[in-house]
Symmetry: C2
Subunit: 418 residues, 2 copies
């Protein structure tokens, strides 16, 4: 620690500078085959064209009777027209014959229209005779009425989904309907968590004496999952440079998140190791919390040195690692949170040149900056409804000013009032 002043963060980078760097460096990962039943929420990596018509046959849009429409012209409730009833068409079980003059076929919704028919008259305006050999039709229907044409939903050759789209439940259904068993999607970023600290006990332990329980890996796991990444097998590492080096150089990872050991103190090996193994592109960022954040690359892997303090870890993840994981996975870099715009109940003090991540509660339709702003106070992020970002060009935000809140909860209606 003797030379700590020499290694201090003399020259802190601006948040936007770091964001620009990451935006420019992180491209979408290669595609991989994804099963139809697992594709919702994934980002499409191919141009999907249908090779079939949907429907592939003319189908009835109603329960009723298939006829030749022009033969019903003039039919009314007072003057129904009789048709010979020659069979039934069910979904998946077409009527085998061909419909001739003055003939009708019972038909169900979705069933194939028989050869020779061109319209369906709905059951509600029809009356079969008792032995089911004839039906009286009490309404005129023009040709094509109540018939779904071949390809009316999707035409063969049509482009149905484009690359970059995040697949919806109905997109998966559409892929199924055109016969796709799977689809090419951007690979999910593989994320290695490197949590170091001789003081740390694994999640699920009870804190004891001077040992505390690892909580950052628990939070990061959930954040990575939210952002579409996959966390590789994880264990807490001792503050041993060799072990940390091996973990940081994990070739299976697209992103490495190092929590703890990111600062400039005695046991902070990670920044030096990152510089040796690849490049420490930034170390020290003009923001609060999270100023000791570092980041760089080892080959094509992005390495983030997240501070050990839990609030700093959260903010550094949200500003830098989260957007990178989303971008690698083909998603938007934008904050994924729902937003609310509310006036401030009290002013927020900041400093020109520094970006602040301020936790706020919401009460009485006002945003209340939380007094406990310490980066070590994890519970402040539990009490808060969300965060307000104070950009670098601002000295703060005035009482009464409308601010945009990045909400921690998905369900705004409940829990947005603290």
């Amino acid at each position: 620690m003797r030379d700590v002043r020499m290694r201090g963060f003399a020259d802190r980078a601006d948040v936007s500078e770091v964001e620009s760097f990451l935006r420019a460096e992180a491209g979408a990962l290669p595609a991989e085959a994804v099963d139809l039943l697992a594709c919702t929420g994934r980002v499409l990596a191919e141009d999907v064209r249908s090779e079939v018509n949907v429907p592939g046959f003319p189908r009835s849009a109603m329960d009723g009777y298939a006829i030749r429409g022009e033969e019903s012209f003039g039919a009314s409730e007072s003057a129904p027209i009789a048709f010979e009833l020659i069979g039934t068409s069910l979904p998946g079980a077409a009527f085998g014959g061909t419909l001739g003059a003055s003939q009708a076929v019972r038909i169900m919704t979705g069933a194939p229209l028989p050869e020779g028919a061109d319209a369906v008259v709905m059951a509600e305006v029809c009356q079969e005779n008792p032995d089911g050999t004839a039906v009286e039709v009490a309404e005129a229907v023009p040709p094509r009425k109540n018939v779904g044409a071949v390809g009316e939903d999707i035409r063969s050759g049509q482009e149905v989904l484009s690359p970059g789209r995040r697949l919806r439940p109905q997109d998966a259904a559409l892929l199924s309907s055109i016969g796709r068993p799977g689809v090419a999607c951007i690979s999910r970023p593989q994320v290695r968590l490197v949590v170091t600290g001789d003081e740390l006990l694994p999640a699920g332990s009870s804190p004891a004496g001077v040992h505390i329980v690892d909580s950052n890996s628990v939070m990061l796991r959930s954040l990575v999952a939210r952002d579409g990444g996959e966390v590789l097998p994880f264990e807490i590492l001792p503050d041993d440079p060799e072990r940390i080096r091996d973990a940081m150089a994990d070739a299976a990872a697209n992103v490495v998140l190092v929590s703890g050991g990111s600062s400039v103190g005695q046991e902070d090996h990670a920044p030096r190791l990152l510089g040796e193994l690849g490049s420490l592109d930034f170390h020290g960022i003009s923001m609060r919390p999270s100023s000791p954040t570092g980041l760089g690359r080892i080959g094509s892997t992005f390495v983030f040195l997240l501070p050990g303090n839990p609030v700093s870890c959260l903010a550094a993840y949200e500003f830098f690692a989260g957007p990178t994981i989303r971008q690698l996975g083909g998603r938007s870099r934008d904050w994924p949170h729902r937003r609310a715009v509310l006036p401030l109940a009290r002013k927020i003090a900041s400093a020109i040149g520094r970006t602040d991540y301020v936790r706020v509660a919401i009460e009485g339709r006002h945003a209340i900056p939380l007094a406990t702003s310490g980066a070590s106070i994890l519970s402040s992020t539990v009490r808060a409804a969300g965060a307000v970002i104070v950009p670098r060009g601002h000295e703060g935000m005035a009482e009464g000013q409308e601010v945009e809140i990045l909400l921690y909860d998905e369900e705004i209606a409940e829990g947005s009032e603290a």
Copy 2:
């Protein structure tokens, strides 16, 4: 089909009537134990109090030197005060002794404060001598400065999380920090999909002849997952009343979603079976699409008869089944979609007394109702950016009127322009 007029939907229920019924009947499911690493996104079912202080010991908030604060009074850059350096305190490795007068201990962020010390002076204003036996302190620090007090984050006995909360990443971290290996959450609703139809091929098949590929189960799976439910093992059933009866009566299910066979036609067994096995509480709802929707209960299981047409299936799920699954799982019944408010580019026609689910595209900051409104046109829900609900009391919505759009995509910034 002879008596179809007799069994028609003479008396259609109003959407709000059905919603009120479901809201009143569906309570949250019992709690179950959930592992810490799986609890994010789940709904808490217990009052969580901490049994420990966090931190459990006074800790340093800085890299620096632990001293007795009052001994630094008067120190400045021009007149530093010297302390005897007697050891080091690291995270997880406390300094064993007690600090006496004019003594200092090297200390890392997060490390336990030694006995006898009451403040930490940051490393940047200190200078060790070459052999590490003394340190000069160039800044005065009052007692408690840069020291995290016992329980400053969480106090023993404090209520940290309340029942009904949907757990955030940071909540899971907090649970970890207080030593919880898991937590009681509302059970995830178990959902049985009952998809019938002799015309259906399983997802992943190619459509062939008069056989179409099941797409509704693919869509419903994703929607159920979105709403926090778990889909039980699934296979397409033939239109065989015995098989459908067994599936609907599945005791493992909290919710049964029957797709297809919900109408009043020849092969529509489900409504009759539901009435026999339990109660068909509603059948026929004044809405478009989805008017043939039915629902009821078998014991405590909710059974939804969703129309086979994919758009109707989607709308009926979103109006009735989705909110019920969310409510059973302890979540809000509210539409889970992000919203946008935009003017209509063209009017929407509706009818007084009927609730409409209208798909709209978004172009040039206007909502454009999609012309293809057929309930069988799945691709319309793929082309649309979202849906507008026209409530029952409206004849429609005028061109230029601002409407709320339930967006299909989570990421609003991209893809909200069709």
